[in-house]
């Protein structure tokens, strides 16, 4: 008998099968994921999810008997009251026996339910999405450099000493020049001492000479010579500028109902998760505004409540101010996303237009405006009145291909809109 402990074996042996399964069920899983996201609370966008998908694409059919045809005998245990010849009414809806086990192979249209990990869930959701134009057209201004290994050199600082290289050279040289090994010297010495004990004069003289020759040779051929030494070499290569900052602008004024704020927050939450997952070096700046704008942290942005009047231009001004102070345009890719219900203080809209068209858009790689509605106005453009801001922004849009506007009426639309805004090779309004 042999006991083997397999516990330390590599984990995730079935991972590749799981990936195959997920890609097989891609379409179904994706729509299930979007369905699931729709029902989620703002706070738990970033968790794994149990999804149920129809068995259509993943069924494994085999030939079955149809239990509702012909004559069959059932031999079953647990008789309590029946005697021979009794008639029992046919049980309705799924007979008591038949389907032996509720295995995944069971036929029918039942949903197949399983759990996606957080990674899989978000991967599935953010598939095909990216920030547009992440790399600036001109790279010449880049200041960042990366160090890259570039072979070995004979000069350098001790910290860059390559011990394996150095010792390899040293060993080659020692072999080539036949430097005596320590063990050879020791044997010679031992032989000499044995000869001394034996008192063989001729041997003593011969062995002494031999011993001294070895000693001398090992002194003049050093163990490590300066010509052996090698240092690791590094090249400095300029790094393309992929530093990016995303400005999130949200209207939290009194005209925004809780439902609308929830929509806006969902949108930004999604954006935030998307950015932090996909890009390591994306700064996110949260700006919220009523009649005044302020920069806030993530927590406040998503979870605190505030009411007041509405002056949209304050947020744009704040954004410009921060961008100029902290994110010089030659070093940063700048993105903006704005959410509002479209209400604005009467005369402010024209100012917004000039700010946006004149200052903000030239600064940005991409700017998205999302107008949240109360569920009625949103998609029914023809019936409801366009909001002030929507009308104003519509003037700006044609001249700027990197400016997009979308309307969102209820949570189910957020994901479509999000996909539209950030689809690869993006759709622009």
């Amino acid at each position: 008998m042999n006991v083997v402990d397999r516990r330390p074996n590599p984990k995730g042996k079935s991972l590749s099968n799981r990936q195959r399964f997920l890609s097989r069920a891609r379409v179904e899983v994706k729509s299930a994921v979007q369905e699931a996201l729709r029902k989620r609370k703002v706070a738990d966008v970033e968790h794994g999810e149990k999804v149920a998908i129809p068995t259509r694409g993943i069924s494994e059919p085999i030939f079955h008997h149809n239990r509702r045809t012909g004559k069959t005998d059932h031999i079953i245990p647990g008789n309590k009251e029946y005697v021979r010849g009794d008639e029992i009414p046919r049980p309705t809806g799924g007979e008591g026996q038949g389907g032996r086990e509720g295995s995944p192979d069971g036929s029918g249209d039942d949903a197949f339910e399983f759990t996606l990990s957080k990674e899989e869930f978000l991967d599935m959701f953010f598939e095909d999405l990216e920030l547009p134009d992440l790399v600036k057209k001109s790279l010449k201004d880049t200041t960042a450099v990366d160090l890259q290994r570039a072979g070995y050199t004979v000069t350098g600082t001790p910290s860059n000493l390559s011990v394996p290289r150095t010792l390899r050279n040293s060993m080659g040289r020692r072999i080539a020049l036949r430097r005596p090994k320590l063990s050879e010297i020791e044997t010679a010495q031992q032989a000499l001492e044995e000869a001394r004990v034996a008192g063989d004069e001729e041997a003593i003289e011969r062995l002494t000479r031999e011993f001294e020759r070895l000693e001398r040779r090992s002194k003049i051929i050093p163990y490590i010579d300066p010509i052996d030494v090698r240092y690791r070499r590094f090249d400095r290569v300029p790094r393309p500028n992929t530093e990016a900052v995303m400005f999130c602008l949200m209207d939290v004024s009194g005209s925004m109902t809780e439902a609308m704020k929830d929509l806006a927050k969902r949108f930004f939450m999604l954006l935030h998760v998307f950015l932090t997952r996909r890009y390591r070096h994306v700064d996110v700046v949260f700006i919220r505004h009523t009649s005044t704008a302020e920069e806030v942290d993530e927590e406040t942005f998503f979870y605190s409540r505030e009411t007041g009047g509405t002056v949209v231009s304050t947020a744009l001004e704040k954004m410009l101010e921060i961008a100029r102070a902290r994110y010089p345009i030659d070093r940063w890719n700048i993105y903006g996303a704005q959410a509002s219900d479209g209400d604005n203080y009467g005369a402010d809209s024209s100012r917004c237009v000039s700010l946006l068209g004149g200052d903000v858009l030239p600064l940005c790689q991409y700017f998205a405006y999302v107008e949240v509605g109360d569920g009625m106005g949103g998609s029914l453009t023809g019936l409801s009145r366009d909001s002030d801001l929507w009308r104003a922004y519509s003037e700006v849009a044609p001249a700027h291909p990197h400016f997009a506007m979308r309307r969102v009426g209820d949570p189910s639309q957020i994901f479509t809109v999000f996909h539209e805004l950030f689809a690869k090779g993006g759709v622009r309004a």
Binding site: M1, R7, F63, H64, S107
Partner: protein, 509 residues
């Protein structure tokens, strides 16, 4: 002195327990086993093993990922506990035990799997005849490498299509009667290489495009005779659908044939297990029950362990009645254990009823000899037919109902009484007969003169037809493998009347 106290296990006590169990198994029960390798695994690895149908190695396919996701969800939700062990019929027998088990459970698992299942694997005639315990792991590793090599060369998608289609027919990819030559790694590899040469050298009539000479077409008698001759050349009728497709499908590449062969061989490996579920579990359960009791009698396990064991044992052999929501057919552990315990009782303390029903074993005094004989020479169906005693029928209150779909109600045919015993016994035995449980489908004809359409027949017994939806999808897979249209006729075996016809054309993709 007990072998262990407390719930925690360690490698030393595993070894001590194994030795103590071995002494009882060899000395008192007379078991004969393969060498054992016990492997300790985590729950996640147990789920892995579940998903590859209990085998330690498997080729890659999405359906195994699906099975993993399914079991994982059930397990995480707490709806389903994991098995305490999985045992693999190979030489040496590999016995997986989970690290979460308590020492009592590990003892139970060793007695159950390493001795009970092991003895059954080594001695039952079906396993001896059909399963090559020495070669299975090598074969699986060959299969896995071959599949991944194909994926590299022809693309994962192409491989997946073939495997999907072959999986749909895997239940019909077994030889039921012929004695199959045992698979062997070197042999398999050599054969793969020789296949190309062989295929080139042999003449496949399906490829004939030149019209045959002679004007006998007009003569229906000669023509029918010729067709009969052709059918014979092709080895028709053939019930191993995958075998027929592998050998005869005109448009498959060599590697596709090899993939089909792999699916076929794996399916064949499981074929005896499907016919031996009741006996296999019964044997293992009976052995662990005996061994645990002996250990307790000898004072080698504590009272506490014994209670823990009894609790677990009684839930393993629990049989809910038909009207219980937990009911899902006979529990093979329960029925198998009850029948084997009853054999023991009849050998030792027979009643007059036993003497009447089982004169040859009643009171013979050698229960283990009788059981060893039964374990070696029966399968579920014949075991029930031979050994299901009135006492067990009464114990389970087994009854028989006839379900005739043309009638509005079900009828109780027999119950556990003097008149019913023999009826129930033969009816239950039929219920375990694989050839009745699985549809009887055969290849009967290929239209060589015309569109190369393959004709399958489902022989309908007692009017039970095929489930329509799955039948259509399986036929589409079959048509994909065959390369041309596939027709399936449902023919009533008794009257030769065609009840229903399905036809599937090849998908244009």
């Amino acid at each position: 002195m007990p072998l262990f106290t407390g719930p925690n296990w360690d490698f030393g006590s595993l070894r001590r327990v194994y030795e103590a169990v071995e002494k009882i198994a060899f000395g008192e029960l007379g078991l004969d086993i393969y060498p054992v390798q016990i492997e300790v695994i985590t729950s996640e690895q147990m789920l892995d093993a579940y998903s590859s149908v209990g085998l330690p190695l498997m080729y890659r396919h999405w359906s195994f990922g699906k099975r993993f996701a399914y079991h994982e969800t059930l397990y995480r939700k707490g709806l389903q506990g994991l098995a305490y062990e999985i045992v693999i019929n190979s030489n040496p027998v590999i016995c997986y035990i989970m690290e979460e088990n308590s020492m009592t459970m590990q003892t139970l698992v060793i007695a159950h799997a390493a001795f009970g299942h092991n003895h059954f694997f080594k001695n039952n005639y079906l396993f001896r005849q059909w399963t090559d315990a020495d070669g299975i792991l090598d074969y699986l590793s060959f299969a896995r490498d071959y599949v991944s090599k194909c994926e590299e060369r022809y693309g994962a998608e192409a491989v997946e299509r073939v495997l999907d289609a072959a999986h749909a027919l895997k239940e019909h990819g077994v030889n039921r009667y012929a004695h199959r030559s045992k698979p062997n790694l070197a042999e398999e590899q050599r054969r793969t290489e020789e296949r190309r040469a062989h295929e080139e050298a042999t003449y496949n009539d399906l490829w004939r495009t030149v019209p045959q000479l002679g004007g006998d077409k007009d003569d229906p008698v000669v023509s029918e005779k010729q067709r009969e001759q052709l059918r014979q050349q092709l080895g028709l009728p053939e019930e191993n659908l995958l075998y027929f497709i592998e050998k005869r499908a005109p448009r498959l590449e060599d590697w596709q044939r090899e993939l089909i062969r792999i699916v076929r061989n794996v399916s064949q490996y499981f074929y005896p297990q499907k016919q031996l579920q009741l006996m296999n579990e019964g044997c293992a359960t009976f052995c662990h029950y005996e061994i645990m009791n002996r250990l307790h009698d000898k004072g080698l396990i504590t009272e506490g362990s014994m209670l823990e064991f009894l609790h677990s044992h009684s839930s393993v052999v629990f049989q809910p009645g038909f009207d219980d929501p937990r009911f899902s057919g006979f529990n093979p552990y329960a029925l198998g254990f009850a029948m084997m315990s009853d054999i023991r009782r009849m050998c030792e303390k027979p009643t007059s009823e036993d003497r009447e029903y089982f004169p040859e074993i009643a009171g013979c005094g050698d229960p283990f000899g009788v059981l060893r004989h039964a374990w070696a020479n029966y399968r579920d169906e014949s075991f029930i037919l031979q050994y299901l005693s009135p006492a067990v029928i009464r114990q389970f209150k087994i009854f028989q109902i006839a379900d005739d779909s043309s009638k509005p109600s079900l009828r109780v045919e027999a119950i556990h009484d003097e008149i019913g015993y023999r009826r129930i016994r033969s009816a239950l035995s039929k219920q375990y007969d694989l050839s009745r449980r699985e549809p009887d489908i055969q290849v009967v004809d290929v239209d060589l003169r015309g569109d190369r359409c393959l004709t399958l027949v489902h022989y309908v017994h007692d009017g039970v037809l095929l489930e329509e939806k799955t039948c259509r999808s399986v036929l589409r897979y079959a048509a994909y493998l065959w390369g041309y249209a596939v027709k399936l006729l449902e023919i009533e075996a008794a009257t030769d009347k065609t009840l229903k016809t399905y036809e599937a054309a090849v998908d244009p993709t």
